[in-house]
Symmetry: C2
Subunit: 243 residues, 2 copies
């Protein structure tokens, strides 16, 4: 029976053996929610990078570029980290290079896994269904906030765990998985209210992006499945259709 | 208003600034519960050390020695890590050198804090009262299991947070604190049942130490307050009486 593990921070990732496993990278506010949204609005592929200058270099290759630091759009880039940016501009068929504080890090640190899937509430069902078909051990890697535990990624881990346990035979392997599940069960009638005291939501409210928060907490808006292929993210759903 | 932070693992401790703060080191199953029990039964002081050979060397200085690895008493030492060992032997006035897998590490890594207090459910009230008097920012450092998040230390963090918020003006600073509080509120009617699925409790049950688990989850059995002084732990309650 495949297991479900949750890793609360990239800083703890070295304690996990990722080989042969499926990693779900999650940064609800907002990197992975935004990536899912970009694919839903036609992006061809997404290149997640760690550094601002590395990201900027992709502009000369005809890519769109997106960068956020401390929750704010970095200067000189096409987009910040708001899912709404990808609805306002036509991005059909474009490649987007993206760097964010926490989310990119979680993805790039998981490269030894058998599969890396991008998870968000927005594509929860698609992710759960895919993992059920894969039947690999799952490790949900929360991006956290600068290496620290955060609530919104944990709630997503709980939501995905609940769904996997409903859909198929999985065992919830560790205490982090149990904690995430308990917290999601407590929060799921109203995730937004539950998160209202959380540090990241407070921080984002101060930045005036309440609209983004509400958007990112919606479940199953998009049927997209971003996965890591060689050096970039592609939408597996689209690849299947095109084949 | 002083704040309450929770750090879920010694592996995350470098992200926290401990200077001028009060650290509560916690390893419910069983290092800190056992230390509290040892002081309650007359130990003069406790020297926590990282390595087995370092611990063993203290025997030649007239100390009692205690060592546990992977949940089992290490060979050649007076005690393992069961709180009951300290009830069966007369330890009045003795110094105990102790090394454990996770707990010792959490203590020794916190040495730059203004105060390190040893916390367990067994002395919860004494710890809460002391912190209320100190009025320093509090960081509850969970020992975890080999660097990973664990539930029992998190529930203690939630219990202590609840008590501090009841007793005085504290702010719960981060998402880890909120998560711990939510989990404790869900568990507190029956902590033992809540922990039944947890990985560490399962592991300890396989070792046949169910009795230890039940003992360590009892609230407020002992009015002792182990704190770090220079190079060892002493019981602050006893120091106050002796003065």
């Amino acid at each position: 029976m495949p297991s479900i593990d949750v890793c609360f921070s990239p800083e703890l990732l070295h304690l996990y053996n990722l080989k042969g496993k499926a990693v779900v990278a999650v940064d609800i506010l907002r990197a992975t929610s935004t990536m899912v949204t970009a694919f839903a609005h036609g992006a061809a592929d997404i290149i997640p990078v760690m550094e601002l200058n590395e990201c900027q270099a992709y502009a000369s290759q005809g890519c769109l570029t997106a960068a956020e630091r401390e929750g704010i759009k970095a200067e000189g880039f096409d987009f910040g980290n708001s899912p709404f940016s990808y609805m306002e501009t036509d991005i059909t068929g474009r490649t987007i290079a993206i760097t964010t504080t926490n989310g990119t890090r979680a993805i790039r640190m998981s490269e030894e896994a058998a599969e890396i899937v991008i998870g968000a509430f927005l594509n929860l069902d698609a992710v759960a269904k895919h993992l059920t078909e894969l039947q690999l051990d799952v490790i949900i890697v929360c991006a956290g906030w600068k290496g620290m535990f955060n609530l919104e990624d944990t709630l997503f881990a709980g939501a995905l765990t609940e769904q996997l346990l409903d859909l198929a035979q999985f065992s919830s392997a560790n205490d982090a998985t149990l904690a995430a599940l308990h917290l999601y069960k407590k929060a799921n009638s109203d995730v937004l209210s539950f998160l209202n005291d959380s540090s990241h939501v407070q921080r984002m409210k101060r930045l005036g992006i309440q609209k983004d928060i509400e958007f990112c907490l919606q479940h199953n808006v998009y049927d997209v499945l971003p996965v890591w292929k060689k050096d970039r993210l592609v939408d597996l759903k689209k690849e299947i259709i095109e084949k």
